[in-house]
């Protein structure tokens, strides 16, 4: 036997002394006497070292993921082409345009051009009413009376509050009233900016926000001029808005994973409607809270300013290919609301990156899932990412009237998107359901989100391809609607307690 072979058996030389006292418990357990006293000590020592090392590795990985989830501050957002960029007129947004007969009469060419290019016979104004009048079909999961009732019930609180059109950018609705008569005379004095920030975010959490960030008011993101759809009246920030806002508190309200997974079925609009209702109530409560502290405040949903860039400025996420704010952990499955206020004694958040926009450049799953093809495909020029729209017909003069030009981002054709809503009988949500960042609330998705910023670009494409292979992000699947209608099972006890970010965990 060589010297090498001698040392390869670690237990050699660990023979017990014949005269040493030994209890029954200390007796060797194998014929090779591996676990005698000295061997046992070695065994335990190595187990402790190995286990401790593995635990340290685990703790390190956990810390790494937690750290990555905070994102990295970015200094180059937004990238703007100053030669093109100008504030966005609220009248040139699809959701405002389709609700205003006056605007349609003023711009008949928009409807004509759309129908000519898309070979449609579509009417932007009458479409909205047609959408909800589409009859249900109880043999078609996701399009049944059950789903229509869910959708209508989701909107109902806003209808009762006279604030349904807050989703369509109507300013000064009862829930987001501009009236400042409730502002308390005595101003609460916060000890520090952090103290104030924590207080606002704590209140937002209590009222239902899943995330909350604070941005400086930025005129570039405010609609200017504003437009009162119901009264066909232009509104100005200087003469009509009740105060000069300095700060915008941005909050996210989650939508239900299982309901959104049914997209483009009506079931998905049930959670979208509910999200609008809850976010409107949240913004209303936050505005009231701030007024109670002696400061001016106006709640806001889609109105007043573009929510996505404000969400990015508040450090809540990044802009995605589907045009939505993609927030780590929840992706685009949320509704954004805001509060404009004049308190500036706060710690402002700043834009952060998690590698999400970069990921979108290699992914394109939302574009593939979009029923009308309103989202730029990967094959578009620069993958659909740039300072100007580059979707189909975007080079036709006047066709991109609805886009906010001059910002580097993904541009989508909201006109085609809305046209599909009308044909579908409901808002869609396929770009939300199919998004690689839209995941249920489980540890492995958090892990993947955590390592995404450090993964190289080519791997992003692979991850995007694996997402549907692993069973996530499929749209247009009627079984999802059937599954949704069983998610209430076990809700008496809800032992998993997983409804915190809109995941029932019961599907």
């Amino acid at each position: 036997m060589s010297q090498d072979q001698d040392t390869s058996k670690v237990s050699d030389g660990a023979e017990p002394q014949p005269d040493s006292p030994r209890s029954a418990a200390d007796a060797p357990v194998s014929s090779d006497n591996i676990l005698d006293d000295r061997g046992r000590r070695t065994f335990l020592k190595r187990a402790a070292l190995g286990g401790g090392g593995a635990l340290l590795g685990g703790v390190g990985a956990y810390g790494f993921v937690k750290s990555e989830l905070k994102g990295s501050p970015v200094s180059d957002y937004p990238r703007i082409d100053e030669a093109v960029f100008k504030p966005k007129d609220q009248r040139d947004t699809v959701l405002t345009f389709i609700h205003s007969k006056a605007l349609n009469e003023k711009h008949p060419e928009r409807n004509i051009q759309y129908n000519q290019l898309q070979h449609k016979d579509f009417n932007f104004v009458t479409g909205f009413a047609e959408m909800y009048s589409l009859p249900w079909d109880n043999s078609k999961p996701g399009y049944t009376q059950l789903d229509r009732a869910l959708q209508m019930a989701g909107w109902e609180p806003l209808v009762v509050a006279g604030s349904r059109y807050v989703a369509n950018l109507q300013p000064n609705t009862p829930l987001h009233a501009w009236d400042q008569s409730a502002v308390v005379e005595e101003r609460y004095q916060f000890e520090s900016e952090k103290n104030a920030t924590d207080a606002f975010k704590s209140a937002a959490r209590l009222f239902g926000a899943v995330k909350c960030g604070i941005a400086k008011r930025d005129k570039r993101w405010d609609y200017d001029p504003l437009y009162d759809i119901e009264n066909n009246r232009e509104l100005s920030w200087e003469n009509d808005f009740p105060f000069v806002p300095k700060t915008v508190i941005v909050m996210l309200v989650p939508m239900d994973y299982d309901a959104m997974a049914t997209a483009p079925a009506w079931t998905a609009d049930g959670t979208a409607a509910d999200g609008y209702t809850k976010s409107s109530v949240l913004a209303n409560q936050m505005a009231k809270f701030i007024q109670g502290l002696g400061y001016h405040a106006v709640g806001s949903g889609n109105d007043l300013g573009s929510s996505v860039p404000y969400g990015i400025m508040a450090g809540l996420g990044e802009g995605g290919r589907n045009g939505a704010l993609l927030s780590p952990g929840i992706g685009p499955r949320h509704r954004i609301c805001k509060v404009y206020t004049d308190i500036d004694f706060v710690e402002y958040d700043q834009p952060h990156s998690w590698g999400i926009t970069d990921f979108c450049k290699s992914c394109g799953k939302c574009a593939e899932a979009c029923p009308p093809g309103a989202i730029p495909m990967m094959e578009s020029e620069n993958g659909g990412y740039g300072f100007e729209p580059n979707y189909e017909f975007s080079d036709e003069p006047g066709y991109t009237w609805n886009n906010h030009h001059g910002i580097q981002k993904f541009y989508s054709d909201a006109k085609k998107c809305y046209n599909f809503w009308v044909e579908n009988g409901s808002a869609c949500g396929a770009c939300i359901a199919s998004c690689t960042f839209n995941e249920p609330d489980m540890w492995h998705h958090v892990f993947i989100m955590g390592i995404t910023p450090k993964t190289p670009g080519p791997l992003h494409a692979l991850m995007a391809e694996l997402h549907p292979k692993f069973g996530y992000g499929h749209t247009g699947d009627s079984r999802k609607a059937e599954k949704f209608w069983t998610t209430g099972e076990g809700m008496r006890t809800n032992t998993e307690m997983k409804n915190n970010i809109g995941t029932s965990n019961k599907s």
Binding site: D4, F43, A47, F470
Partner: protein
């Protein structure tokens, strides 16, 4: 159920650590053999954790894929390591 999953993984982790420690008493292995075995066990544990979470969230396809790729990959890695790197060491040691 989620707590049960973590408990089960804790048990597997402990068994894995004790198994490795026991193996270290039996035979002296090269560093890359250890690295390969540890990677294999880590992959299996990761796959079980992933699969458990996927089944709990109601996406069994993800669970099946995790079992196939992560656990399967880990198992194959461990088997190959055992066959081509560990057994020869045993034989060389005069086993």
């Amino acid at each position: 159920m989620e707590l049960m999953q973590w408990f089960f993984m804790g048990v597997l982790f402990t068994v894995g650590v004790f198994g490795m420690a026991y193996l270290s008493l039996l035979v002296k292995l090269k560093w890359y053999t250890w690295a390969s075995l540890v990677t294999g066990i880590a992959l299996i544990l990761f796959g079980i954790g992933w699969a458990g979470a996927s089944f709990l969230e109601g996406v069994p396809q993800s669970g099946a894929m995790a079992l196939m790729f992560f656990c399967g990959g880990g198992l194959i890695l461990m088997l190959l390591t055992w066959r081509y790197l560990v057994v020869p060491e045993f034989e060389q040691a005069g086993g």
